[in-house]
């Protein structure tokens, strides 16, 4: 079965492509990519992408698929379907499942489930410490052998600085990437939203920006000391952007990601005790949002990741204090990213880079490209199409989005994964 995508505008930062081209997919690989047009000779399924952008399948380096253990929130099946609908053909699954993905056996289980039931590619991220307890190093080498692309205790910080130092040293020997969930738990102190006037007047416990920033700085200092590669997850504050920018200037091997909610909305979204906007790190101030955008623009922030964190409606209708943190993000990420293009923060190739070649490079995976001979993983974006976000209609089991009812422009029209064309229009 072959697929022919014609008349589209191809943007592929991995090859520096930004122009009209046709793509022929055969047996699941990119057979031909040509600016001169490709004739349909073999009866391929044709997608006319006139007026659309044809991109490499997006890579989300920060996803919570919840399986094993929390299948009421999401499964590998539902999560990858949501991913594909959002234009993501690759998602990196964070290890805070039950049991925690802290050994090769769990990694293999996840990969096997993804292989049989996954609608998109799943690349597991292993835990840094056993049980994500922050006490003993997990078996990083064996997990890496089994298929983990990076290591993180995401959801929790590695609070003990010595353990983090050892993890970085050890990971350096494997040339493995450590991803930091930067949060000083004493300073965040059980906070449920950003510290400040709004938290005070809502009577909610605030988690200050500094709780993130001191940890970003600590981990950068440890990366600098050890020479290891460090990636900062879900950057949300102006101070973090500044600290990362300065570290990059002096040559520290640090990269960073932010998420659509940190550049799209502020803490004001929490008003009315909206648990869909309860996320960790919390939504911040307008000043922080501006700094995040500047960090995306100047390259301080390399990657846009979703931190897709689905929860069941029952969990999110608890009182604000008890509702779990997280936003279901896979199905709105590209459209929210596209707003940055409309606003002039990024040009489209710049946006695509942060969703394809940059995460691929950081993770050291051969994906996020439309190069001839590569596995065909494609995302077709219709820049003119407008739609209203409807939380209830999300494919993900997690309906927890603060963007419910938003009108967004720029929708995923189709995706190609494992030789199959899915049309989402």
């Amino acid at each position: 079965m072959s697929i022919l995508i014609v008349n589209g505008h191809v943007i592929d930062p991995s090859q520096g492509l930004d122009g009209r081209a046709d793509i022929l997919v055969e047996n699941g690989t990119v057979k031909k990519l040509s600016a001169n047009g490709i004739k349909n000779t073999k009866g391929a399924e044709v997608l006319d992408a006139k007026g659309m952008y044809v991109l490499p399948g997006l890579i989300d380096m920060h996803t919570h698929l919840r399986e094993p253990g929390f299948e009421h929130k999401e499964t590998i099946r539902t999560g990858t379907l949501a991913a594909l609908k959002g234009g993501f053909t690759t998602v990196c699954a964070m290890p805070n499942t039950n049991p925690v993905n802290d050994n090769a056996g769990i990694t293999e289980y996840i990969l096997k489930k993804a292989d049989t039931g996954g609608a998109a590619r799943v690349l597991p991220i292993g835990a840094v410490t056993k049980g994500q307890k922050g006490e003993e190093l997990a078996e990083l080498y064996m997990m890496r052998k089994a298929g983990c692309v990076a290591f993180s205790d995401d959801g929790k910080p590695v609070s003990n600085a010595l353990i983090m130092r050892r993890a970085l040293e050890y990971a350096k020997g494997l040339d493995a990437l450590i991803i930091s969930h930067a949060e000083n738990l004493q300073l965040s102190g059980g906070g449920v939203m950003n510290s400040g006037f709004l938290a005070l007047t809502m009577g909610l416990k605030g988690s200050p920006a500094v709780a993130e920033e001191v940890m970003v700085y600590r981990d950068i200092a440890l990366a600098e000391l050890t020479g290891a590669r460090l990636h900062i997850a879900h950057v949300s504050t102006a101070g973090s952007v500044r600290i990362i920018r300065q570290a990059k200037e002096r040559g520290v091997r640090v990269t960073a990601e932010t998420c659509p909610h940190y550049f799209s909305i502020t803490e004001a979204a929490v008003a009315g005790y909206n648990t869909s906007a309860k996320v960790n790190p919390p939504l911040r101030s307008g000043k922080d949002v501006a700094a995040i955008k500047e960090g995306l623009r100047d390259g301080t922030i390399d990657v846009i990741a979703t931190d897709h964190a689905p929860h069941s409606p029952e969990e999110k209708t608890r009182e604000f204090d008890s509702a779990p943190f997280g936003i279901s993000g896979l199905e709105t990420a590209l459209s929210l990213g596209f707003r940055l293009v409309e606003e002039g923060v990024l040009d489209l190739p710049g946006l695509v880079k942060k969703l394809t070649s940059n995460p691929a490079g950081i993770l050291g995976i051969e994906r996020g490209t439309l190069r001839e001979g590569a596995e065909a993983e494609i995302c077709v974006l219709n820049p003119e199409k407008e739609f209203a976000v409807n939380a209830a209609e999300l494919i993900s089991r997690g309906k927890n989005t603060p963007f419910d009812g938003w009108r967004l422009k720029g929708a995923v029209e189709a995706t190609v994964f494992r030789g199959r064309l899915s049309r989402w229009a």
Binding site: G196, F197, L200, T201, M202, G203, L204, K205, G272, Y273, E314, T317, R318, E319, F320, D321, S322
Partner: protein, 310 residues
């Protein structure tokens, strides 16, 4: 929150306008007259059902609401957390819906999490009265405090009011700040820097860490209960040191105006935030606050039902 829900519930002082506050206080004046009679009960809300849904221990507030509801001739049920289904794992919302299905017209809710009354108001048809939610608000306390202040000082406009103690964790302080600001008072906060809001400017108040300085020229001294569990969490070193700096002693009260009134929402920690001779002294209106609480709560319930009939 839509306009409709704002009318039917009492969620906080943030949500009320100055006019609505004045209307409630005027109603309370009439109900206070009722409470002075030999027969202290009126048939106003006969046949209505009021449920006290308390997820946090409370004797004073619950009793005050219960008696106020009885004075209005309603049927009152007390539903408190330890004996409730919450322990059986029933969700908060299911519990509230169950109570509503029993026929509650007014649900009075207290919960340790901020925003719970707001959440219930979104899901219930009954009126919701916030009897204290987390560190957010305690609106009927602010109303009874405003009522007491007006009784003693005739008006609130231009009055200098000092609120003293653990401001950031106090729903009483917050409701009083919103209410008194709307009524034109000059509000100042006094306490250790660890318990004062850092964004006080945005709240339109002044802050003082020096109590003698802060009390100068004050008409109303409003003490807060010090939550003793804050001790040992680096907010302040000891209750002894706290009393030395922020306890209201007779000597320290001299910094305020001679006719200043002393208020406390209760229950008091005598010797920790307030000296006994001040609590029982001539400036104290602490017991009158309790009496006024009844009148104010009758006014609130009456008002919500009155709204429904419009």
């Amino acid at each position: 929150m839509d306009d409709n829900s704002r009318k039917k519930h009492l969620l906080g002082m943030k949500e009320l306008s100055r006019e609505e506050i004045m209307h409630l206080l005027n109603l309370a004046t009439s109900f206070k007259d009722v409470l002075r009679r030999d027969i202290k009960k009126v048939p106003t809300l006969r046949g209505r059902t009021v449920v006290n849904l308390f997820f946090e221990p409370s004797t004073r507030t619950r009793t005050s609401f219960e008696l106020a509801a009885k004075r209005l001739s309603t049927d009152v049920i007390n539903f408190s957390a330890p004996s409730s289904s919450i322990l059986k794992g029933e969700s908060l919302l299911d519990t509230a819906l169950t109570v509503e299905a029993l026929g509650a017209d007014i649900i009075i809710i207290r919960h340790s999490s901020s925003g719970v009354p707001h959440m219930l108001a979104r899901h219930l048809k009954a009126s919701v009265i916030n009897a204290g939610d987390g560190t957010n608000e305690h609106p009927t306390q602010a109303l009874l405090d405003a009522f007491t202040i007006i009784e003693k000082k005739q008006e609130t406009s231009g009055l200098r009011v000092a609120i003293i103690g653990d401001i950031i964790h106090s729903r009483v302080a917050k409701s009083n700040i919103y209410c008194l600001k709307k009524l034109g008072a000059d509000v100042r906060l006094i306490g250790p820097a660890t318990l004062l809001p850092s964004c006080w400017k945005e709240m339109g108040v002044e802050v003082f860490t020096d109590m003698d300085e802060g009390l100068k020229g004050v008409d109303v001294v409003m003490m807060l209960r010090l939550q003793l569990e804050r001790q040992g969490k680096a907010f302040f070193p000891s209750t002894e040191e706290y009393f030395r700096q922020w306890g209201l002693s007779k000597r320290r009260l001299l910094s305020a105006k001679p006719d200043a009134i002393v208020m406390h929402p209760g229950p008091m920690n005598r010797g920790i935030e307030i000296a006994s001779d001040v609590a029982d002294g001539n400036n104290s209106v602490i017991l009158e606050q309790v009496t006024n609480g009844l009148a104010v709560r009758m006014a609130v319930m009456y008002h919500l039902e009155e709204k429904k009939e419009l």
